[in-house]
Amino acid sequence: MNETILLKMKNIHKRFPGVNALDNVDFELHAGEIHALLGENGAGKSTLIKILGGIYRADDGDIYINGEKKEINNVFSAQENGIAIIHQELVLVPHMTVAENIYLGREPMKGKFIDREMMNSETEKLLKTYSMCFTPQTLIVNLTIAQQQMVEIVKAVSSNSKILVMDEPTSSISDKEVNFLFSIMKTLTAKKVGIIYISHKMSELWQICDRVTVLRDGRLVGTECVNNITKDNLISMMVGRKLEQYYTREFQSGGKTVLRAEHLCDGEMVKDVSFELHEGEILGFAGLIGAGRSEAMQCIFGLKKKYTGSIWIKGEAVHFTSPVDAVKKGLALVPEDRKLEGLYHIQSVKYNATIEVLKEFIKGIYLNKKTETDIADKYVSMMNTKTPSLNQPVSHLSGGNQQKVMISRWLATNPSILILDEPTRGVDVGAKAEIYSIMNYLAKQGIAIIMISSELPEIINMSDKVCVMANGTVKECLPHNKVSQEAIMKFAAE
């Protein structure tokens, strides 16, 4: 392995309001190396990558490329410096050909016109080099996700990128395609390209990577050669943080079974999910992104039209195909992505908080504005939501307060089963603590709560039981006293 240092990021600092996203982080990439970047969600991986890609600017710190100090101020200057980032969400133009995408913005010209022949023949050469089985004239829409990734890679390499960042490239492709991807990565490293590889699948590290850097809470934990380190070492590097004090959970053993699911399968992400939920219990669902946790809950809530398996609510067999029916049986689901799936942004806090319980104050054409305000006020202040008024557009609130409005909306339905999907994502620490204490209060009232979360400390400190999911199945159900970050990671990363 060649030891030339291709990229050096030194003393990188990045602060966001309320958070130190990166605190004095160093990172080094050799030419011809595949360097894994590991860390939990929120550890600072994506911030570091965005600084490298010119999307964010570091508050402090230097970037050296080939030993030369460089200023990377925007995406363009990152590209100028040979940095290419392949994002999780692909950014190709779907109805253009492979060749047109590869040469987008730098089309070869013949006089005033695009030189299509040259573009296609050059692309063909590139595709041959990497033994791709599609032609330059193929439309992007007709390619598989894996093939589209290949196009991204070819595009990056064709513009002479020397530093390639791959953000979870294997999260949505099959094993066979993964192997092909790895072989291409090997071809690239032979050409002295340095690859920064982000993945949640730990087993891949020993297959493909040379070194690994672990970040935690915005700080550098360490950089190691993969051959000198075990999976257990890595896990403890990733999760070895002290638990915060703001978990106010009084654990309890649940009462009667209120929800039982057996062999749920939606034919896609959810393969075989079974579990039981009891009165007054908080059941945590841990797992990596793409494990099928949200999708399993969407089956239960009637958001998936087609799924198999059995669900019982309080002993009664149900099969919802619409959330309306699920809500009638006392279910509530606060979705993962509140911006996309939850909020009516331009509408007021009041509108957002009461949309589920219109029946209680609208009878035919008779609208009782006082009841409406009372309901909104009751739940919005129960959640301690900070808003100048109930008529404030919900888009003007902070993330934490928006989430509180979302929870208010569903509390107003008096649910007996409350499903919270990533209840504290993008929520500041203070609001988090408040959400935890509300969850504790609700559980004491006998409400059964399912909490999907990718934050391990939250899962561990709030859940009476934890179901760990991987690849669409529940791998293990751990009672509170057996839960540890290591135990969860063991089953989740299988």
Partner: protein, 327 residues
Amino acid sequence: MDNKGKSDIKIKQGAYQYFKENMGIIIAFIVLFGFLALNPITMHAFLTSQNMFNVLRQISTNMYLACAMTMVIILGGIDLSVGSIIALSGCVAAACVVRHGMSIPVSLIMGIFVGLLFGMINGFIIAKTTIPAFIVTLATMDIARGFAYVYTGGSPVRVVSKAWQFIGAGYIGRIPVPVIIMIVLLIITALIMNNTRPGRHIYAVGGNVTAAVFSGISVKKIKFQVYAYSGLMAGIAGVVLASRMYSGQPTAGNGAEMDAIAAVVVGGTSMAGGSGKIGGTIIGALIIGFLNNGLNLMNVNSFWQYVVKGVVILLAVFLDFVRNNKK
């Protein structure tokens, strides 16, 4: 909790805020009205009750369409077929009297029913498929217009009964019947939008359709209902217009959909969906109506009137754009 007292005060402030949000078009309307009332060329003819009722009668059919169009646009859609539905409904109603000897109330109901039927077809296709509303209603626009020509052979179906003219050209007291119908329809529409569950759901679907699905709102049902309502309103507009013109005319309502859209947009409803109020649309339709009236009173060449109308629409939405950008 001291939160409670505070929020009561804030609600009253919300009413002010609503006025403030619509201030732009309200002022525009007052300026236009004041100009026409004080301008020496127009002042004598303008401020007569006859002229006022005339204007209201002229804008009434546009207002029927704009009522439903407000809902359609808040829903995030568009309905281009309403102008053609006006023609078909009017022709069917007139033909029911003349050709089939039906009584006038039954004929009117038949005409309105044709409108509703087309609205339901629009709604059904838009709800069940992902074909854009623009395309669906563009197609049904041609279909309805075509049927109107085929059904009448291209010439007007004249009705020579006095009773036929009642809903379009009649009066109750001094108030023209179409204006009374307009007021009734405005009240019904405002009640639906502000005071009913489907009304709230329209905002939800237009504002964030994914969230609406997660909220358990039946998106398909709402879409179907709104387009059906739009067809119904076009049907009513069609028979009222046919009554006023003593005939069902296959060319009637040409471009009426655009006037309705203009009223809605000038009234401050966003084409992106999710926001808007019927109160804004009323003022929007009034502005366009009084503008037409004023230009006529000032003897402006009718070709130039198009130019002026277009400029005013552009100006209105531009002001809206400036105000939104400031926020």
